[in-house]
């Protein structure tokens, strides 16, 4: 593993930002490490990568990695990332979000990003809880499980993040866990390479909050749960809904080539041959302004 650690270290910011805010044994470090190894594997220059996050434990990830990094507001990482990507498509844009971040307060941005199909990647670290604020139940806390705001068990029903992404039209959806660390690296790399919007849901452990309240006393107990509950996509095909109850599928859940937003947008612009009525009258005027003369295409 030491070679991997060395690789990861190359992408971490100088010592001032470390150690992380994360609890010892937290799965987020595994995700961050897999992400930088995936980026390394793809051979990107650091300047060509942007990592964008929202708020929460996962939201802190960008501060530690040596890329163009943007720590935004709760739930909004994808909305910021959308503008960033549209303004500079050469950037490889990766967002890192938690489950509450991506699916509760950011749920709207998440589904619309899925259907828009802009070429960027969303990593959703799903630890089934709001960790930073102290263990309140999230949209992925399983029905009946406990949180500090669901002391008698969660009366609500949880989202299946990957299924939600598929339903919302994402062109690439994968899921694995922090236990399946090699697969995680591969899936993140595959997601980044995919031309379109890609989602990687990563089951992660918050033993401090979720584990403490739901009989997973240690990180190891949580990892064991992931090992036992993960079912590969291939194997899941032959299993009934009842057999899959309480389990999660891992692997590439959907991969489909769909026209990418910026490609389509730019092609539509190229096809324009006449000045739209809206600026016909002022075209000459616009042409006379700084920057406009060489910008106007028709």
């Amino acid at each position: 593993m030491s070679r991997e650690i060395e690789t990861a270290r190359e992408y971490l910011r100088p010592a001032k930002k470390l150690p992380t805010v994360w609890c010892p044994g937290c799965g987020l470090g595994i995700i961050m490490s897999a992400m930088v190894r995936a980026i390394h594997r793809l051979g990107f220059e650091k300047n060509d990568v942007a990592v964008v996050s929202g708020i929460g434990c996962t939201g802190r990830m960008p501060a530690y990695v040596d890329f163009n990094t943007l720590h935004t507001t709760h739930g909004r990482a994808l909305a910021f990332a959308t503008g960033l990507k549209l303004a500079r498509p050469s950037l490889n844009v990766i967002t890192a979000m938690g489950d509450g971040d991506a699916l509760a307060i950011g749920g709207n941005h998440f589904i619309h990003s899925c259907r828009r199909n802009i070429n960027m990647t969303a990593i959703v670290a799903n630890n089934c809880i709001y960790g930073m604020t102290g263990g309140q139940y999230s949209p992925t806390t399983p029905h009946g499980k406990r949180g500090t705001t669901a002391p008698y068990g969660n009366p609500e029903h949880e989202f299946d993040c990957a299924k939600l992404a598929v339903g919302a039209g994402a062109s690439f959806v994968a899921r694995t866990s922090v236990y399946h660390v090699r697969e995680l690296e591969k899936l993140i790399a595959k997601a980044i390479e995919h031309r379109g919007f890609s989602v990687v849901e990563v089951m992660a452990n918050c033993h401090t909050s979720y584990g403490r309240m739901n009989k997973f006393a240690t990180p190891v107990d949580m990892l064991r749960w992931m090992k036992d509950s993960a079912v590969s996509v291939a194997r899941a095909k032959d299993m009934s809904e009842e057999e899959l109850e309480g389990k999660f599928t891992r692997g590439v859940i959907r991969e489909r080539r769909m026209p990418e937003f910026i490609e389509v947008y730019d092609q539509l612009g190229e096809k324009l041959t006449e000045t739209p009525a809206a600026i016909a009258g002022v075209k000459k005027l616009l042409e006379s302004y700084d920057r406009m003369a060489d910008r106007l295409k028709v």
Binding site: T82, A278, I279, L285, R295, K297
Partner: protein
């Protein structure tokens, strides 16, 4: 620049703002449909592809504001347009842009509120929301046009000020200004300039995106450029990393306020009409000021020495011009389409030295000249 005659067009304010944005070098627009601002988004969607820019319709105004901040960090001149309810949703990221010092422009074509209010009717009820709508101490720049021509010129000004001050700037239009059509002689090219973002010239590794280095505003490198750095909505140090060190926090908050408030006098711009010998001053802005101008003419005919001071810059508020006039004034009347917002700033500045009266209107209709004139007549005992 050619010596052509001024390019005269009949346009509405929203159209002029959109065209001003293009002339102002806009690269990116994100928005969400809302009356009475939607024409701006429609025009941007039609025109931006023609100039190599990009438009996107986001899922809501929260996302629109986020997208223009993201685009601006990549170096794009960015703008959104909205109205009251959408402006409320944008407050979250207006604060982000203030703290993270990201240039961007928000056009708010004001309609009557609160809440959904009167979607198709004008108001000037977002004056204080513009100043204080987002949480935490900060400052803001806001301009208010009174004519279709100014919708053009002030959009250019807003884009420039955003870059110069590294801050969000608000163009406070209202429904009347946005939808009114009038003949506009557009300014000749070369009569205004585009202020481009100052980029750093540091050695690699030395760049601090929030270190002013003795200047007022720190240069901002675009993402994907030469320098890698961190931007956060957490209070941050000069390198951009979160800090809770009291001195660093104090520096940051003072900086984002003072870089704007210290320039309040130089940012303040007015139109003055018969102010020189005025004893009764109508202090107004936006569409209300157009009406107030007519009132000044009527009042003058009756021998009442009225004048109009029209604030083009709403925020930061400057008291300088009022201070110069304080000795000659016997009355200040502030007509605005709200129940008393900007008048509070005038009262704060005058500290009781001149009687101040507010004339409000919140029925979704523009003032009429007689309403303002009658109010003044009554106040001066005519």
């Amino acid at each position: 620049m050619s010596n052509d005659k001024p390019n005269t067009q009949v346009l509405q304010g929203n159209e002029a703002a959109a065209i001003g944005a293009l002339a102002g070098g806009l690269d990116f627009f994100a928005g969400y449909p809302i009356t009475p601002s939607s024409e701006i988004a429609e025009i941007m969607s039609r025109t931006l592809p023609l100039v190599g820019g990009r438009f996107i319709q986001m899922e809501d105004e929260i996302a629109s504001m986020a997208a223009i901040i993201g685009a601006s960090l990549a170096g794009a001149r960015s703008m959104t347009a909205t109205s009251g309810p959408g402006f409320s949703l944008m407050q979250e990221h207006l604060g982000f842009a203030c703290l993270a010092e990201v240039p961007c422009v928000v056009v708010n074509v004001q309609r009557a509120g609160p809440s959904t209010g009167l979607p198709t009717q004008p108001a000037q009820q977002d004056i204080m929301q513009t100043r204080w709508g987002t949480h935490g101490d900060h400052a803001i720049i806001a301009l208010a046009p009174s004519s279709v021509r100014e919708c053009f010129t002030m959009t250019v000004d807003c884009l420039n000020l955003a870059e110069l001050y590294r801050t969000p700037v608000v163009l406070l239009m209202d429904e009347v200004i946005g939808h009114m059509r009038e003949s506009v002689a557009f300014p000749q090219a070369g009569t205004f300039s585009l202020d481009i973002r100052r980029e750093p010239s540091h050695g690699l590794g030395d760049y601090c995106p929030f270190d002013e280095c003795g200047e007022v505003i720190a240069p901002l490198s675009p993402y994907g450029g030469e320098y890698r750095f961190h931007v956060t909505g957490l209070t941050h140090d000069k390198r951009g990393f979160p800090t809770m060190v009291p001195e660093e926090v104090v520096h940051k908050i003072h900086h984002i306020v003072e870089k704007i408030e210290d320039d309040a006098d130089s940012l303040a711009r007015y139109e003055e009409y018969m102010v020189d010998d005025a004893e009764v001053l109508l202090y107004a802005y936006g569409s209300s000021a157009r009406v107030a101008k007519s009132s000044v003419r009527s009042l003058r005919e009756e021998g009442i020495k009225a004048g109009l001071l029209r604030a083009k810059t709403i925020w930061p508020f400057s008291a300088k011009r009022l201070e110069e006039l304080v000795g000659q004034l016997s009355l200040i009347v502030v007509p605005e389409m709200n129940l008393g917002q900007y008048v509070q700033e005038v009262e704060r500045a005058m500290k009781g030295r001149v009687p101040i009266r507010h004339l409000g209107r919140v029925d979704g209709h523009l003032f009429v000249p007689d309403q303002i004139s009658d109010f003044v007549r009554k106040e001066v005992g005519r």
